[in-house]
Each structure stands twice: as structure tokens, then as C-alpha cells.
Amino acid sequence: MPGEVLVKRRAQGISNSSATALAIAAALATTGASAQGVEGTFGLAAMVHTPDWPNNAQVAPWDGKSDGEFAYRAIPCAGNAPMNNISSNLPTYNGLMPDSRSPASTRSHPFKFNVKAGQMTGSIALTVCKLTPGPTNDGRPDSERDRIDIEFTATSMRRTPEETTFSGTFVIPGGTGRYAKLAGSGTIRGYFMCFDPKGCVEGNKGMLRDMQYVLEGRFKDPGFNP
């Protein structure tokens, strides 16, 4: 159920208003002992690329069949990226994060993985550009922004020389900044292809230069206290 949110409270089960007020007062008096948290469901849709390949050492496109280590990157947060600029309601915690409004703008910096006999094991460093849609214009480098870490395993299937699909599962072991205590899990699926109108074979030496992926899952952050 997208958008389902459950805010846990220490005073759960207490319906009497005065008793609730007392519980809140007690919680306020206990430094660092806030029992609030948040959990919910989320979706994410994003794209990654391999800019300036083969001269860019920070990217390594996959041919959709070989074993090895591969890396894709997203454009900077300042860029006009139609999909990544409106990618997810995870960073906003379904809009509960103060001053947020889904869909948030994110970048996969990077999306990297290992392939062995079609089995993919990888990670996504999901940089949160901003808690609202659109590119950034604050001048901050993306490396300084809060990040959500994602680890996944998936099975790939090479459909044609122009496309390889994959699907699997992921976990969120945490992140940086406001996402340090974030946890979650769900499913991942996507497809590698070439955005180039000439395609992968004719225009890019058989390499699948771009990829689009989606995540669906649940999240939980016991440290969230708006």
C-alpha cells in the first residue's frame, strides 16, 4: 500500500487525552530517549549512465553477458534529469520529513555491481539531492549530501544485444546524515540498454551504456523524530 505510514509512539494504546499529555511530557523530559519512529512503503525510479566512456575511469559499462565489475553513474544533482529529479518518496519518508514534498530528487552515485554467471551483486549510493522535486542550485558538491545505502542481489537475463533485464531483492543497511538509522528491504528490477538512438551494437561497441531501474519496498527509521 504505497503511502502507508505508521508513526510509532511510546504512548501507544493510551487513549485518554490527559494521559497522552503526561506521556508526551515525560518523553520531552527524557533527553535522547525519544521513542518516535517511522515506517512505511516507498517506490523509486531512476536512471544511470556511463558518461564519456571509454575515457572515464569512473564508469564501466556492461555488455549484458560477461562476468566482472561494472559501474554506472547518475548525472550531478544540479543537472536537468527528468527521471532522477522526481525519483522517490523514500527520502521524504512519505512526506513526513519536515519541509519535504515527494517526489524527492536523487542520484545513484554510483550504481556498481559484480556479475558472475548472470548473478549480480551490487550496491547503490543513493545521494539525496533535495527533499523536493527538481535539480539543485545550492552549489554544494553531491559528495556532501546525505546518502541512502542500498545493497542488492539480482538475476540477469540477456534478452537481445540491445537489452538485458534483471530482477532481485535489496536491503537498506543505513546511510549518512539523517539516514544513518534507516533500514529497509524490497525488490529491485530494471534493464540495461542504450539511450543512444544508434543503439548499443552500432553506436557503442556492444556496451549497454545506460540503465533504468525501480525499487519497491518498506522502510523503517526508529530515530526519526520530526
Binding site: P51, I75, A81, N85, H109, P135, P197, G203
Partner: protein, 115 residues
């Protein structure tokens, strides 16, 4: 026109030229070429946000625009420019309009004797 040119030059100087940088648009790889030969520059994935803007190509470190190209209905562009006359490795930067804060860069290798 002068203001526009100076703005572009300012971007060219100030922007990070990290090869991971790029806007939504992407540039196709360019094969190694010879000094003074024509280079076919192809781009795609442009024009999805905001109004359609011209693509302005600038050689990194120079003060002149190498070319300007229009995006077609599919978000693609194609233009031919002349390779530098001195062999070496050059960065060609593609700005989408005058307000592209994250331009795309492609490496151009020029090999062979100077002409």
C-alpha cells in the same frame, strides 16, 4: 550576444570538468581522429525539461564556441566540427542552453602528425 558568450565562458571556467559530470543529455563516444579532420558529434536525451534550448559546444580551456546545434523532436542533435590541429586529448563540453549547471563532457583524441 556578448553577454551570452561571456556567460558561457564563465560556465566553462567555473564548471567542474569531472568526467562523471553530465546533464540529462548524453554524448555518443567519439573515435580518435586526425588533426583538422571533421568530427561527428552526436547527442541524445536532451530537451526533456523546460523549453527546448540549443546545444552549445565548447572546447575546454578555450574562449570560443566550437558549434551550436538544435535539438530535434526526439531530443537528439548531430553536428560536425573540426578537430584541433595539434595532436592530443581534448575535452568537448556540451551545454544545454545558457543555464546548464551540469554540462556533459566527451573526450576527443587527436592522433597523427599536425597539418
Amino acid at each position: 550576444m556578448l553577454r551570452a558568450l561571456s556567460f558561457i565562458l564563465g560556465l566553462a571556467v567555473a564548471a567542474s570538468f569531472s568526467t562523471m559530470a553530465g546533464a540529462c543529455g548524453q554524448l555518443a563516444p567519439i573515435e580518435a581522429t586526425k588533426p583538422g579532420h571533421l568530427i561527428h558529434v552526436r547527442g541524445y536525451g536532451y530537451g526533456f525539461e523546460g523549453a527546448t534550448r540549443p546545444i552549445i559546444l565548447v572546447w575546454e580551456g578555450t574562449k570560443v564556441n566550437a558549434a551550436e546545434a538544435a535539438i530535434d523532436a526526439n531530443g537528439d542533435f548531430s553536428v560536425e566540427i573540426t578537430a584541433p590541429m595539434i595532436p592530443g586529448e581534448y575535452k568537448l563540453i556540451a551545454y544545454e542552453g545558457l543555464d546548464d549547471a551540469a554540462p556533459v563532457t566527451v573526450t576527443v583524441r587527436v592522433v597523427g602528425p599536425s597539418i
